[in-house]
């Protein structure tokens, strides 16, 4: 198989993830490229929010995508493709942290954009840092449910399918996470 470079894509946005996954299964590498363009940014953001080291982020995104496409038959469409992908990334990050016995990285170690209002940016980063610190103290499932809802706007059915729980339990996890974050931050 020798497909040309597939970084660019001309597929219409209306093509569903399920259709793209189906196309990839039949050997269409451009379908995989389109899925990466759609979801890799969210995956990076999610992993960063979970405390991934910025220096490792691109490798983590790469490895998550590789694992996902290697076992893409495991995605049955119960959860959205993105939620399924983020769950794989979360598990990968957990394994990496365990192996290294490492810590999650504080947000204030990260760069501040040079072209922004430094005061507003700093205030935003401080708020984000507090949230990140709070997130780090939540149980894994609560953290994932909260981030899937807050960052992706996923509904409870989708979250439940991705994380192997029920919509009712996902809702409870979300509200517990919010309550705990309020206590930790407030």
């Amino acid at each position: 198989m020798s497909a040309p470079p597939v970084a660019g894509s001309t597929r219409p946005d209306s093509t569903t993830d399920a259709a793209l996954v189906g196309a990839y299964r039949t050997g269409d590498e451009r379908a995989a490229a389109e899925l990466v363009q759609r979801h890799a940014g969210a995956l990076g953001r999610f992993l960063h929010s979970l405390g991934a080291d910025p220096g490792d982020l691109e490798d983590l995104v790469q490895e998550t995508l590789f694992r996902a496409f290697r076992r893409v038959d495991g995605w049955r469409g119960g959860a959205s493709f993105r939620s399924w992908l983020l769950t794989i990334g979360s598990n990968l990050l957990r394994d990496q942290v365990r192996k290294r016995k490492g810590k999650l990285v504080p947000i204030d170690d990260r760069d501040i954009a040079a072209d922004s209002d430094p005061h507003a940016e700093l205030a935003a980063l401080e708020a984000q840092e507090r949230v990140r610190e709070g997130l780090a103290r939540l149980p894994k499932l609560q953290r994932e449910v909260f981030l899937l809802r807050a960052q992706e706007g996923s509904d409870y059915e989708d979250i439940a399918a991705a994380l192997g729980t029920t919509p009712g339990a996902a809702r409870v996890h979300y509200h517990h996470a919010v309550k705990r974050l309020k206590e930790l931050i407030g």
Binding site: M1, A3, P5, V6, A7, G8, E29, A32, A33, V36, Q37, A40, G41, A42, G44, R45, F46, L47, H48, S49, P54, L57, E58, V61, Q62, L65, F66, F69, R70, I107, R110, D111, A113, A124, A127, Q128, R130, V131, R132, G134, L135, F146, L147, R149, A150, Q151, G153, H175, V178, L181, K182, I185, G186
Partner: protein, 175 residues
């Protein structure tokens, strides 16, 4: 459901810019610090890592991903082939073991070998059939004799032997 609970379900969508507050919801937010705090938390979480995501080299990720996937497909293919060859080899080994390990097979092997040897003796040689027993005997003896002349030519070391040694060697050739 209380107004706070209703609002809580709407906060993520509004913070992500997918929806807007209604006038009634705004009025509630103005009067409810807990809901405002929840908006701040969910809003901060929604913004978390946006700058990092923008820095990702997605084109590079795609190219590397395809290279890795192609390589892994090749490795899978080779592994499957190796497994099938290994399976065939194992099956062949089992078949041979069963064949040679069969006691009936071993017992029946001897007569086969014997009959084969007998068959070899029975091969007809028409050019020999016209010979008398004495002629045949003479012919067989010449066939058994070593080619002394050629051996001497091919093996110059014989010239180094003294007469006694040479005689002993010749005797051993003649039996």
């Amino acid at each position: 459901m209380t107004q706070c609970e209703l609002l809580a379900e709407r906060i993520p969508a509004v913070m992500l810019g997918r929806s807007e507050w209604t006038a009634e919801e705004r009025q509630h937010l103005d009067a409810c610090p807990a809901c405002r705090q929840e908006c701040e938390i969910v809003g901060a979480a929604a913004r978390l890592g946006k700058d990092v995501a923008e820095k990702l080299d997605l084109d590079g990720v795609v190219i590397t991903l395809h290279q890795r996937l192609r390589r892994s497909r090749q490795v899978d293919l080779l592994r499957r082939r190796a497994l099938s060859i290994g399976g065939l080899a194992a099956a062949a080994a089992v078949a041979v073991a069963l064949w040679t390990g069969n006691p009936n097979r071993q017992n029946s092997a001897a007569p086969v070998a014997g009959s084969l040897a007998a068959g070899q003796w029975a091969i007809p040689l028409p050019e020999l059939q016209s010979l008398q027993p004495a002629e045949l005997d003479s012919l067989l003896r010449t066939m058994d004799e070593p080619n002394v002349r050629n051996a001497a030519v091919q093996d110059p070391d014989l010239r180094d032997l003294n007469s006694e040694e040479l005689e002993r060697v010749l005797d051993s050739w003649e039996g």
